[in-house]
């Protein structure tokens, strides 16, 4: 088994606000190997994005703070590094693609400037070599007429194109880990498939470890090797995609899968998950999902379940499977 590119242990990030301390990320652990894609699934507010930001230590200060854990990138703990060291690592070792292509690019600078910048930083290129390399990158993300595109401005490009540009900037180094935070959510359905294909291609070419954040299980099935399901800031189930889909262990995961409408199934009402997502500032003492769980035991409300293995590389936090 290849050693992990990124190995996260017990990561916790808290947000201090007027209404109390929110445990946005609460004891999260996972690992991703080179060439492997880990999906990060959950509802809005489950902690997916905050986990990613925590990996690169760009949580919104001063309200948010990483309070515990270890994030090892190729063996080195990122949480122990200085800010200057982190700045060097960002982009070069860990790159990120954000959700909304309309706002990811700086509107007053040309595409060329924004793509050249990381290339110049990471590879110390200047002048013509720099321009050529930038055009190459645009070509790698399958943007037509890359050299001409360099002179364009973001508002002249479509959403799909912009997201490709963001992708180009992300692989400029190329990095060891690529984090994609819902990269296709804002794109048209037809473009989505193309973009996902592109990401896979880039991953294979550069042997990237990839973390793919999404709330869409369909995308997970297509793109990911493993998936971690998050709820209330915690990972409630993690395992290989096939296992999760065919034999989900956690009631929440099961509910998510059941909630996907299936063509051909009898036309009944849509199944849904009863109740509301948890208030992260006032998490219950036990399992965060207990209030909405149809199979909750008395113990579930009292104690938070630890991570228990339920198969090869498959673990869950649930007393139903617990020790």
């Amino acid at each position: 088994m290849t050693s992990a590119v990124v190995d996260v242990q017990d990561l916790s990030t808290h947000i201090v606000s007027r209404w109390g301390t929110v445990k946005a990320v609460d004891g999260v652990s996972f690992a991703v190997a080179a060439g492997e894609t880990l999906g990060l699934v959950g509802e809005s507010g489950s902690g997916k994005s905050m986990t990613c930001l925590s990996l690169v230590r760009l949580v919104p200060r001063p309200v948010a703070r990483i309070v515990a854990g270890r994030v090892r990138l190729d063996g080195e703990d990122l949480l122990a590094k200085s800010e200057a060291e982190m700045r060097w690592i960002r982009g070069r070792k860990v790159a990120m693609i954000l959700q909304d292509p309309m706002s990811s690019l700086n509107p007053v600078f040309s595409i060329g400037m924004q793509v050249r910048e990381p290339v110049a930083m990471y590879h110390r290129l200047r002048g013509r070599a720099l321009g050529a390399r930038a055009a190459e990158l645009l070509g790698a993300v399958r943007i037509p007429s890359p050299a001409a595109r360099l002179r364009n401005f973001p508002h002249q490009l479509s959403g799909g194109m912009r997201q490709r540009v963001v992708g180009a900037m992300a692989i400029a180094a190329p990095p060891r880990l690529l984090i994609a935070d819902e990269p296709t959510t804002s794109l048209d359905l037809t473009i989505q498939a193309q973009y996902l294909g592109l990401l896979k291609e880039l991953q294979e070419r550069h042997r990237l470890a990839m973390i793919f954040v999404t709330h869409d299980l369909g995308v997970v099935a297509r793109v990911c090797d493993r998936v971690a399901v998050m709820y209330g800031g915690r990972i409630v189930e993690i395992g290989p995609v096939r296992r999760i889909f065919t034999a989900p262990a956690h009631p929440y995961t099961r509910a998510l899968l059941e909630a996907i409408p299936r063509l051909g199934a009898r036309r009944e009402q849509l199944t849904a998950i009863e109740g509301q997502p948890p208030d992260l500032a006032a998490l219950p003492a036990g399992c965060a999902f207990a209030p909405r769980c149809g199979q909750a035991l008395e113990r579930c409300r009292r104690e938070a379940p630890p991570e228990t293995a339920v198969g090869a590389g498959h673990a869950t936090r649930c007393w139903l499977h617990g020790p």
Binding site: R87, W88, L98, P107, F153
Partner: protein, 306 residues
């Protein structure tokens, strides 16, 4: 782009035309200048002669048209009081006002930019608080009051700087500072709020994710986006500087446009009044045009808008 400039130029011309009409009417209503020029013992006939000489007896429409006709060629007539061509007076005074305004503007910009950016970057800290206090004070202090206090202490008691008149660089300092004070305040606040908004944006987050140094993120990635409202107001403020310098010029005995206007108005010198107002308006129009062009340079979305 050229079309853009041309359209704006046309608009400015229309505006100026409108203004010239207003000015003309107003100037004529300020009263009969002859009372001020002719001696007490003047007879009816003297008045009639003087009127004919100065062209004041022709119908208003004719006066207006000849005024406009000559104004376009730069001939603003002769100052009734000073008996010299107004254009000459303008040539003497205008540069002084412009220089003072430019000096004040330059100093204000040099102060407002760092203050505004630093206040935004250090939001909530002492730096930010102090900057905001400076800003609100700047917009609340009457300039002539400051001027008097400054003249008294800095020039009078401590003798660090000259009290008035135009001279070397040191004579620009006090009036420039007095004029520019409120500009610093306004621009600083604009910059601060603009920067705060931009620093929160997704593209700034992405720049940081790329590993760009924070200094560059703030001063290159963020600043350019926050500039647009600042540019608008810088233009407005510059026009204000030129046009309201009248008070400062009075206190500091600065031989500029403001003083010329003041003297012109009090002595009912039509040609001077008309010329000053038109010149002022022309300056404002040019500055506005410049601002619009600058927008297009800064923000490519405006440049390529269709």
């Amino acid at each position: 782009m050229l079309r853009f400039v041309a359209v704006r130029l046309l608009q400015s011309v229309v505006t100026l035309a409108l203004l010239s009409l207003v000015v003309f009417v107003l100037a004529r209503t300020t009263g009969d200048p002859l009372h001020m020029i002719l001696p007490m013992s003047a007879t009816e006939e003297d008045y009639a002669n003087a009127r004919r000489y100065l062209g004041l007896d022709r119908p208003y429409v004719e006066q207006y048209l000849s005024f406009v006709g000559r104004a376009v060629t730069g001939d603003f007539g002769t100052s009734i009081r000073a008996r010299r061509p107004v254009s000459e007076l303008l040539r003497e005074r205008l540069p002084n006002s412009l220089r003072l305004a430019l000096f004040a503007m330059a100093v204000s910009l040099a102060m407002a930019f760092p203050l505004g950016v630093l206040a935004a970057v250090n939001k909530g800290t002492g730096v930010d608080r102090s900057a905001q206090i400076i800003a609100i004070l700047g917009q609340s202090l009457p300039s002539f009051w400051i001027a008097i206090v400054l003249v008294e202490f800095v020039a009078g008691r401590w003798q660090w700087l000259p009290a008035g008149g135009i001279g070397g660089l040191s004579s620009y300092v006090l009036p420039g500072f007095t004029l520019g004070w409120f500009v610093v305040a306004g621009l600083m606040r604009l910059l601060r709020s603009g920067m705060l908004e931009v620093l929160d944006s997704e593209y700034v987050k992405l720049a940081r994710l790329k590993g760009v140094a924070e200094v560059r993120v703030v001063w290159v990635h963020a600043l350019k986006n926050a500039l647009i409202p600042v540019v608008t107001f810088a233009g407005i403020y510059f026009s204000i500087l030129v046009t309201t310098a009248i008070v400062v010029e009075t206190v500091f005995a600065w031989p500029g446009l403001g003083r010329l206007a003041y003297d012109g108005i009090t002595s009912r010198d039509f040609p001077v009044i008309q010329a000053v107002v038109l010149t002022t308006a022309a300056i404002v129009a040019v500055v506005n045009l410049g601002v619009d062009v600058l927008y297009a340079v800064i923000d490519p979305r405006i440049r390529y808008a269709r």
